[in-house]
Symmetry: C2
Subunit: 317 residues, 2 copies
């Protein structure tokens, strides 16, 4: 039995945001109901960057994502983040496919935020704020527009060219450059920066807002002033990871916030084990750190579509 070899173009060609959102939501459901297995991700911190090994198993599929973050790669003309998934049959352990997971990583982050917003934001949300117009912003827009009728997207970035590129990439939407305070006033706000000093001020907070806090994924990173958290219903993807490396990590380490104040995990929300938004005036926040079940759920989607196609393969093991 050969192992499928699925390169970036092949994988990206098989990714459909609507289907991805369904698969990732099902993965959170399965995991919460005990049908998934996921140990903590492992970090290798090296001189010029880091690697993360992210294994998980879901019904029908298991695998590991191996992903790096090397900030200086831009100077070399290489992507900062590159990811590979080895995807295996949980029944036999056989490696069914090796696939690029760079696109999967971007898609799953957008999909998971949109799933959180679907359950936590006001259903009539129609304006979207983007703080940080980098790579992540594209899949955030793609994902949220599958779930909401977004008619206005307000964007802020310290680099005006990044905003310009985003505006040009979505001619089908009304996307406009705005000051931070205006972006923060949207129905759904996605923070997508590598900030270590909060970019979202408490004074900008409006009743009814939902915030996807995506940028903080390591100790010391923080995008929201702690006052924003204190006034919100906070949902995390994984409590342990959020506590050590998510949006809540800095306020917790400063004694300004406690992990006990977290309302629920996303899995508890999508399985209706715990309530999310209580009323239209509530502030809700999803603290996203990224978990391997998201990646493996999409790897399964990709493999299931690719296995009957005409793709390179080899007897690897």
């Amino acid at each position: 039995m050969p192992t499928l070899l699925l390169d970036k173009n092949t994988v990206n060609g098989l990714l459909d945001m609507k289907t991805v959102i369904g698969a990732v939501e099902q993965a959170f459901r399965d995991w919460t109901e005990g049908a998934g297995t996921m140990p903590a991700k492992s970090y290798l911190l090296l001189g010029r960057g880091d690697f993360r090994a992210m294994p998980a198993a879901l019904p029908g599929g298991a695998g590991v994502k191996w992903v790096n973050v090397h900030p200086q790669n831009r100077d070399r003309g290489l992507p900062t983040v590159m990811a590979v998934i080895v995807y295996s049959d949980p029944e036999t352990g056989y490696p069914l496919a090796v696939m690029d997971a760079t696109g999967i990583t971007a898609f799953r982050t957008g999909a998971t935020a949109a799933i959180a917003a679907k359950h936590l934001a006001r259903p009539d949300s129609h304006t979207m704020g983007i703080i940080g117009a980098g790579r992540q912003s594209y899949t955030q827009i793609a994902a949220h527009s599958e779930v909401f009728r977004i008619d206005l997207i307000k964007v802020y970035d310290v680099v005006p060219e990044a905003v310009e590129r985003l505006i040009n990439a979505f001619p089908q939407f009304k996307v406009t450059a705005c000051p931070l305070a205006e972006v923060a006033a949207c129905d759904i706000v996605c923070t997508l920066t590598p900030a270590r000093t909060p970019v979202f001020k408490t004074e900008w907070l409006r009743p009814g807002t939902h915030i996807n806090a995506i940028g903080a994924d390591a100790e010391g990173k923080e995008e929201l002033e702690p006052g924003v958290l204190k006034r919100a219903i906070v949902v995390v993807d994984d409590l342990r990871q959020a506590t050590t490396s998510g949006e809540i990590n800095v306020p917790i380490s400063l004694g300004l916030y406690s992990s006990k104040e977290v309302q629920a995990t996303l899995g508890e929300i999508v399985t209706h084990r715990k309530p999310g938004r209580t009323d239209p005036q509530a502030i809700t926040i999803f603290d996203s750190t990224g978990v391997a079940i998201e990646d493996i759920a999409i790897a399964k989607l990709v493999y299931d579509q690719a296995k009957n196609g005409d793709h390179p393969a080899m007897e690897l093991v």
Copy 2:
């Protein structure tokens, strides 16, 4: 830049035991001296088997091994253990190669035991005992015969055909089937069973013996009676792993042994930070659980040889 794709035959064709021993010993040295990075391996325990994600970085190379153990695979005509390594450039994170690591896994276990024996066994050791004549026994013989002048190998297995196969595989050595007590009386004894009840009795122990305890790699597994451990100088590959899943795990959980009784790690022995054997009459034990630096050191060897050759490759990421 393409990613090399190295299948089982290619990898196995590039593995040379003498070189592997040198690379793995250097990896233990590097790791102990702070030039390597290795988080704990992650386990995924599923219904029909398990997976382990084993990431590590060494000078010049980083990667993750993704390996399964599915005992029922034999009935399906598939190997019980299959392993894949994604091998990356630590400077950029680029995935340089995806390679079969099933052979690497077998080679590194033999190589590491031989390195332990080189530092712990009597230098004039010339008889080798094999308890358990499965796949691992082949690389144990190959590795130890690179380091010692082995002139007699005594073998025991519950399956006589397994002993017969091993004898036939090494016509260049004198290999004979023996009762357990005789095998245990060799200069160097390798225990290679999945036992959960000790197979090596204290009464068989002879002064001067070195034992490589390889089989125990999960909670509840145990090959040596606790009395054997109590009389020995014990060296482990990784203290945390050995305590939870190595040969010492059951005696520790029963209160018969303490991790404080462990003399040293293999890295401390090979860098001469701690002494090993004290005199020719001492009993020494190496408790092997398997660590990712062994695999990544060999992956680097394989990649460095393969990169200038004519092998399949693709633009994966």
